[in-house]
């Protein structure tokens, strides 16, 4: 249910998974995560960073108006629409005190039991009801209890954690219009408990969640035994029926979320109930790691009894019963300003292995602060306990060079994690004249001085990305080194493609007098501009002209979708555990084909296929064959072998210039926020997502007192590199 643990999406129709319908987690990766990790300013950096406001335009506007207008108008339309929504929202806010009573009138009591059961009956293949006697007898149950714990036994429960959100969530639902906001990660993805949870320190192993035991048969069917003590935050026990209810909801058109409709009908073949605590899930095909697909969160049958056509309105501001340690607190919520999560005091996993000593603060308060710099100042003043947008060097070195840090009140930590790296790099569009020549692409690989950007602009902190699928552990090639900056090699490659004459501006020309000049599309923010200018300045040495085109997100994204770019500095969204190839490098996504024949454009060139992730227009038969095999691969070894072969061919294609990735994240926090001795878990992309921190109230009082009295502590800057790739 969370994008984070969804399998690789092999769906062709563009980047729907990563752009339009991305789950909360995916969105956070782009809109917020990127800010933290990827030294990019407010404009969301990944190309997937299409803002939710735009991607979620009402269909009428989206299909009728917005598409016929140029990008600039679309932006304006989106803004106007948002303003309009805001006005309506504000209007309703003023009515809020009155609406408490009228709400019931708008939403009369409703009972969907009959229609739910009818739906189950109508899909007997998907929803199967059997008895416990039908359960295979020879199942070998696993429980994962041999795995190590990762929380700190010294952790204390209690306290209020103060953090911020850039905007107020438009809904408290976790699915449906508006649910895909950046806040979804905080209240759902990081909190909800799946039947089994991936262990964050041991890759490929799982620990119990709502289920105590499980068993995988034929890589396709997973048998599960629920924890008898499992219950929702409202006290209702978690039973198999709640999982059935979840599938019913996800299949229903009432959620108005086609991505989920598709996901939950095609990615699962059937759910089988044996008794109240025993059930099985069957996948359509055998998969190397079927547990990975168990990203399902039960829907409390009692709570969703009124689920119907008006679900989106009826449930918009109702806090759903949580399976996790926290539940949304509607009592203290101030719309537009503040939202809180309350710890579930009698959570069923509270004292269990893997969950004890985690989820420690009693309350997590999120204040809405739209401006990042303002949030940073609030943090400096002590109004926020924690701030994790500090990975970019400018924050880490410059903005954090403040007395609060020198005096030891604010601590800094840098943690090397083991998480897939977003494939930042320069994507060369092979569909454009000039770039269709592999020799020129190789020349460009040697002419873009990535290392200098890393050394100077990123202060040597980041590491060069090796391949587009870097950071997936064994599935990533480590022997392929990206081509280094070299004027000689670049000029040799350009010369072999015919560009061997020097113009008076220092740019190479070919015999026809065509200049070696390409456009590089970057995001319109100071940091990306700087990268672009650095590339431009260095490429000039190799006789290549790089023209910088800085575009806002909407226009940048539109040009990429239409494949109008020549070179583009961007990145895609990523998810563990396997790298993706089909979307980004398969020929099916490169050019338009009708009945097996290429379609041609006005210039007689093959017509680029719009709306796909293959922005390099890579079209290589050998690679296509490998990718087809990769998709059908059923074992991890096979996947590893094919992934490495794909990496090799992509390297030879030279259509992707790997840039850089931080192999760490950085965090700044007040002294009273405490972490385990090894700081965090291996497979984490942010410090708080695994909830291992706690608040030390005594330390807080001591720090505040010291600050009042002008006493100082030694400055704390920790580097945790136990998971650093050697």
């Amino acid at each position: 249910m969370s994008k984070r643990f969804l399998p690789t999406q092999f769906n062709g129709s563009l980047c729907r998974d990563s752009v339009l319908e991305c789950g909360g987690k995916a969105l956070r990766d782009t809109a917020l995560g990127a800010l933290r990790h990827l030294d990019v300013q407010r404009n969301s950096p990944c190309m997937t960073g299409c803002s939710p406001g735009v991607s979620r335009l009402p269909s009428a506007l989206e299909s009728g108006v917005a598409h016929s207008l140029p990008a600039a108008f679309q932006d304006a339309a989106a803004t106007a629409w948002c303003n309009c929504l805001l006005a309506i929202f504000t209007f309703f806010l003023t009515l809020a005190p009155l609406s408490a009573e009228t709400e019931d009138e708008r939403f009369p009591p409703y009972d969907n039991t009959a229609e739910v059961n009818a739906y189950y009956k109508s899909k007997p293949d998907f929803f199967q009801f059997k008895t416990i006697d039908d359960l295979p007898k020879d199942l070998k149950w696993e429980d994962g209890m041999d795995l190590p714990e990762f929380s700190d036994p010294n952790a204390q429960k209690g306290g209020t954690m103060r953090y911020f959100q850039p905007s107020f969530p438009p809904t408290l639902r976790f699915v449906g219009p508006g649910a895909n906001s950046s806040f979804r990660g905080q209240h759902f993805d990081d909190i909800a408990i799946y039947p089994v949870q991936p262990h964050p320190n041991v890759q490929g192993r799982y620990m119990p969640g709502t289920c105590q035991q499980w068993c995988i048969v034929d890589h396709q069917t997973v048998y599960l035994r629920l924890d008898p003590a499992a219950k929702f935050s409202n006290g209702d026990p978690i039973r198999v029926d709640d999982y059935f209810m979840m599938f019913y909801m996800m299949h229903s058109p009432h959620i108005q979320d086609p991505w989920y409709n598709n996901e939950f009908t095609t990615k699962y073949q059937s759910i089988i109930k044996y008794d109240d605590l025993t059930f099985a899930l069957r996948l359509p095909d055998p998969k190397p790691d079927p547990l990975f697909y168990l990203t399902i969160v039960p829907s409390c049958v009692k709570f969703y009894r009124e689920f119907g056509p008006d679900y989106n309105q009826r449930y918009n501001w109702r806090a759903y019963p949580s399976t996790g340690a926290y539940v949304l607190d509607t009592d203290t919520m101030i719309k537009g300003r503040k939202i809180s999560m309350r710890r579930v005091k009698d959570w069923f996993l509270k004292d269990r292995k893997f969950y004890r000593n985690r989820f420690n603060p009693d309350v997590i308060n999120y204040t809405i602060i739209a401006n990042l710099d303002k949030a940073f100042e609030s943090f400096r003043k002590g109004a926020l306990d924690y701030f994790d947008f500090v990975t970019p060097p400018i924050y880490w070195y410059d903005k954090l060079a403040v007395p609060e840090v020198f005096n030891g009140y604010i601590c800094k930590s840098q943690f090397y994690n083991d998480f897939p790296r977003p494939p930042w790099g320069v994507y060369l569009n092979c569909a454009t004249p000039g770039l269709d020549d592999q020799r020129i692409r190789v020349g460009i690989q040697h002419a873009l001085n990535v290392q200098k950007v890393i050394d100077i602009d990123l202060r040597g902190d980041y590491e060069r990305l090796l391949t587009p699928g870097d950071g997936y552990g064994r599935f990533s090639s480590t022997n392929l080194k990206p081509r280094e900056f070299s004027v000689e090699k670049a000029r040799a490659a350009f010369a072999s493609a015919g560009y061997d004459q020097l113009g008076s501006d220092g740019i190479l020309k070919n015999a026809k007098g065509e200049r070696l000049s390409f456009e590089l599309q970057v995001r319109d923010n100071p940091i990306h501009r700087r990268y672009g200018l650095r590339f431009k300045e260095e490429a000039l040495k190799a006789g290549l002209e790089v023209r910088i085109e800085a575009l806002d997100n909407t226009s940048a994204f539109k040009r990429l979708r239409d494949k109008q770019h020549e070179m583009c500095f961007t990145a895609w969204n990523i998810q563990p555990p396997f790298p993706k190839f089909w979307e980004n490098f398969h020929g099916d996504n490169a050019f338009e084909k009708k009945n097996g024949v290429w379609e041609l454009d006005v210039n007689g060139r093959r017509k680029a296929k719009p709306n796909t992730n293959n922005i390099t227009s890579t079209d290589n038969e050998a690679l296509d064959k490998l990718i087809d095999q990769y998709e059908r691969a059923q074992t991890a070894d096979e996947i590893e072998r094919l992934a490495h072969q794909c990496d090799q061919l992509i390297y030879e294609e030279a259509s992707f210039v790997p840039a850089w990735a931080p192999s760490f994240y950085r965090t700044a926090y007040w002294r009273w926020i405490k972490w385990p001795a090894d700081f965090n878990v291996r497979i984490s992309d942010l410090a708080w997502t695994n909830h291992v921190l706690w608040i030390d109230e005594a330390e807080k009082q001591a720090t505040l007192k010291a600050q009042r009295e002008g006493k100082t502590f030694p400055a704390v800057e920790q580097i945790y590199d136990q998971y650093r790739a050697k």
């Binding site: 140029p70 990008a71 600039a72 932006d75 060097p393 070195y397 410059d398 290392q451 050394d455 100077i456 202060r459 040597g460 004027v487 000689e488 000029r491 020097l502 008076s504 501006d505 220092g506 970057v522 319109d524 100071p526 501009r529 700087r530 672009g532 200018l533 650095r534 431009k536 300045e537 000039l540 040495k541 190799a542 006789g543 023209r547 910088i548 085109e549 800085a550 575009l551 806002d552 226009s555 580097i719 590199d721 050697k726």
Partner: protein, 541 residues
């Protein structure tokens, strides 16, 4: 007169010199720049008009037209201008003394000279413009003179870049880095003379390097600094300057934190941890000869001073660098050059449109006036900034020309309003009526009688238009809707300064440049206004 003649003749002579030697002479270069700008604008207008009437030229024709503009057009238009300058210069030199000025003009000039503030401002501004026109004599990364193997060359005058190999740099197959060459030549018979500011305004952001030294107290300092060094440093290999032997971290002049030692390929061979200068742990990752590696490394610890760096005479960054490492003085001058060019173009366009529209409506009056005024009202009520931003986002490749044209399109209304009033007033004066009675044609009345008498209004307005343009251009750049990425601009400098308030030299430089030019122009404007004040010299009631 004589002075003007000398200036014109110099220009013509420089052009002749340029044609004869093929040198890129700074002062004449501006004529080519202007000519190609006008040519490009003409081409754009032509193609836009053609595509509007559905007769868009084919790519081949377009290419041919572009080639014509950048080739023949620029060459001959510059030649013609210089020829005209030559002719005019010679004529003035011969006949200059016989030209008698209108006494009114002389009076105004005298009055202007007597207003010291404006007069001095004019000279200062003139000097600034001259400095900007000197271009890469003063500012640029190409050397003025290089002496190599007994020959002296002037790289800044040569049109084609000189490859490094011509000065003995290996492999040297990109343009010579003269700053590096200068260091390379130190202690040899060869030498390099760089411009005063040895940096370009565009795409020239070399990192500022410094070295560490260990002083008597055993603490590391940056050469020439008094505070112990805090930050990172690197030790490179002698043979491979790009490969780091070790990455060091210093806190208050002492080694602190994890350090990884690498071999000549750059792969780590050892990890050492320090705390306050004391070694805590040392882990060998593989068997390697540490002593040999140390011997192969450069003994100096190198420090990259990350941009923005403060003003420094040693590095010849007289006003420091901005946040991308560009030299601020070079950027300021580069931006001023753009502003000068932009201003001239802007004034021509706005005055042309303003005078024609204002003059016509004022002179013809009636229905034409009524309609034109309503049109102008509608046009001027358009939210200027939004329209510019909209146009900017529609145009994917904005240039200075585009931005200035867009600004001009919204700036002529004021001039036309003044012009209309002035024409209206003059038209109803007795002398115009008398001329009409005597049967003067419309043309004669407009050009001989009315236009010269509206001149004072137009000239008075001039400096304020310049002010408005500079401020407009800068604010558009500040907002990010101005010039293309990488072009020097005061607005970008200001924005950078505001984003880096802790580095005051950026904002101060940008602000000083903008404020001083605006003040100078305003002083000149005031003086002109006063010199042209009709209350002093008009005899009409």
């Amino acid at each position: 007169m004589r002075k003007l003649a000398i200036v014109l003749l110099t220009l013509a002579l420089l052009r002749i010199l340029q044609l004869a030697t093929g040198w890129e002479i700074p002062l004449v270069k501006w004529l080519s720049v202007a000519a190609s700008a006008v040519g490009a604008l003409g081409l754009t207008l032509l193609t836009t008009t053609l595509s509007l009437v559905k007769a868009a030229p084919s790519p081949a024709t377009l290419k041919a037209m572009q080639a014509f503009v950048s080739g023949l057009w620029v060459f001959w238009s510059v030649n013609l201008v210089c020829l005209a300058a030559l002719g005019l210069g010679v004529y003035l030199l011969q006949q200059g003394d016989k030209i008698s000025w209108d006494p009114l003009t002389l009076k105004r000039w005298k009055r202007f000279r007597s207003l010291r503030r404006g007069y001095v401002s004019m000279w200062i501004l003139g000097a600034l413009v001259f400095i900007a026109l000197l271009d890469n004599v003063l500012v640029g990364k190409r050397a003025l003179l290089v002496k190599y193997d007994g020959h002296v060359r002037c790289p800044f005058l040569e049109a084609d870049p000189i490859m490094g190999r011509e000065f003995g740099v290996t492999p040297g197959n990109s343009e010579t880095d003269y700053r590096e060459l200068k260091e390379r030549f130190q202690g040899t018979a060869n030498w390099v003379l760089m411009p005063l500011v040895p940096y370009d305004a565009r795409a020239d952001t070399p990192p500022v390097m410094a070295h560490l030294e260990k002083r008597g107290d055993g603490i590391y300092y940056e050469v020439g600094e008094v505070e112990p060094y805090t930050g990172t440093a690197a030790q490179n290999f002698k043979e491979h300057p790009d490969v780091k032997r070790q990455d060091l971290r210093f806190q208050a002049g002492k080694l602190h934190g994890g350090i990884s030692l690498n071999d000549a390929e750059g792969s780590p061979v050892e990890r050492v941890t320090y705390e306050n200068g004391v070694e805590q742990s040392r882990v060998k990752l593989n068997e390697s000869d540490a002593a040999a590696l140390d011997a192969a490394a450069n003994p100096q610890f190198q420090v990259i001073k990350y941009a923005p760096t403060p003003p420094s005479w040693r590095h010849r960054h007289f006003l420091g660098t901005d946040s991308s490492g560009g030299d601020i003085l070079a950027i300021m001058i580069g931006a001023f050059q753009l502003i000068i060019g932009g201003t001239l173009f802007f004034l021509v366009v706005t005055y042309l449109i303003g005078v024609v529209v204002g003059g016509l409506t004022g002179y013809l009056g009636g229905w034409i006036d009524l309609l034109a005024q309503r049109g102008i009202e509608i046009w001027s009520s358009m939210p200027f900034l939004y329209v510019i931003i909209l146009l900017r986002s529609l145009n994917e490749r904005p240039s200075l020309l585009f931005v200035i044209t867009a600004l001009a399109a919204f700036s002529w209304m004021g001039i036309s309003a003044y012009m209309r009033t002035a024409t209206f007033r003059e038209k109803n004066r007795d002398y115009v009526a008398a001329a009409r009675l005597m049967g003067a044609s419309n043309r004669r009345m407009v050009f001989t009688h009315i236009l010269p008498n509206t001149l004072s209004v137009l000239i008075t307005l001039l400096p304020f238009k310049v002010d408005a343009l500079i401020a407009g251009l800068t604010s558009l750049d500040y907002l990010g809707f101005g010039l293309p990425v990488g072009e020097p601009s005061w607005g970008v400098l200001l924005k950078d300064g505001v984003d880096n308030l802790a580095k005051p030299w950026i904002l101060m430089s940008g602000f000083a440049a903008l404020a001083s030019v605006l003040v100078l122009v305003t002083f000149i404007g005031e003086a002109i206004r006063e010199a042209f004040d009709p209350r002093k010299f008009t005899y009409y009631e």
